[in-house]
Symmetry: C2
Subunit: 149 residues, 2 copies
Amino acid sequence: MPKLDLDSIEQTNRTSYPAPFAAATAGRHLRRLAPAAGLTDFGVSHVVLEPGGMSSQRHWHEGEDEFIVLIEGEAILVQDEGETVMRAGDCAAFPKGVPNGHHLINRSARPCIFLAVGKPAQSGCHYSDIDLHFDAPGGKFTRKDGSFY
Amino acid sequence: MPKLDLDSIEQTNRTSYPAPFAAATAGRHLRRLAPAAGLTDFGVSHVVLEPGGMSSQRHWHEGEDEFIVLIEGEAILVQDEGETVMRAGDCAAFPKGVPNGHHLINRSARPCIFLAVGKPAQSGCHYSDIDLHFDAPGGKFTRKDGSFY
């Protein structure tokens, strides 16, 4: 049936961030819905953020649009301009190439759930707050000077 | 700010369905979030369905994936196999080319809200229950024999 049985889809808190940046997303539990459902036009991540959790390091993509919708609970959207509270039903969009790093953090006392829609990274990803850069295609993390961790 | 002010985005219950199929979606109030937010990689529709409303005529796409998530309230997902209740946080996916027509109807006593993610139609759309077909590119509705309404 097209309705997804979320419990049957693997949930992971793995990250490909190098140390010391990997620990920040330990409270992020992610399911990749598109491959589980046979979709290829776009990706959909179902994410549970524990209290204190972070969706990702704050970043922006050169070549991929992103869209998020809060499903349950409350999260803080952090961008260059500051912070915005996101609650169930709130949506945010991050057009490709706009150099405004963003991420969600959960400062509430209970888990929150959101969906993120995007496409696989085919372009550079810039990290606003830390000495990290992602090159794509090629798929490697480096320092901003290009050296490897 | 990337958080979307939904109230500032035009909401419409227009449809391009020909009579007599247009009346069925009168209770569907839709906002196209992607163009409002500057996204081009995929589309996101924010839909409020009134009690008795229908998301669309039951259909499937030859060449475009679709994904929906219920945000608020309750809707019935109808497919060839039958009916499934969808509640806040429930997700469903419709891979391109799978000939299983789907739509949502609201049989509850209050409005429901869902998001639908997809891409602009570039391929045929098949309607399961009615004598309607959509040809794309070209963008025209016909009867299943190819004749126009």
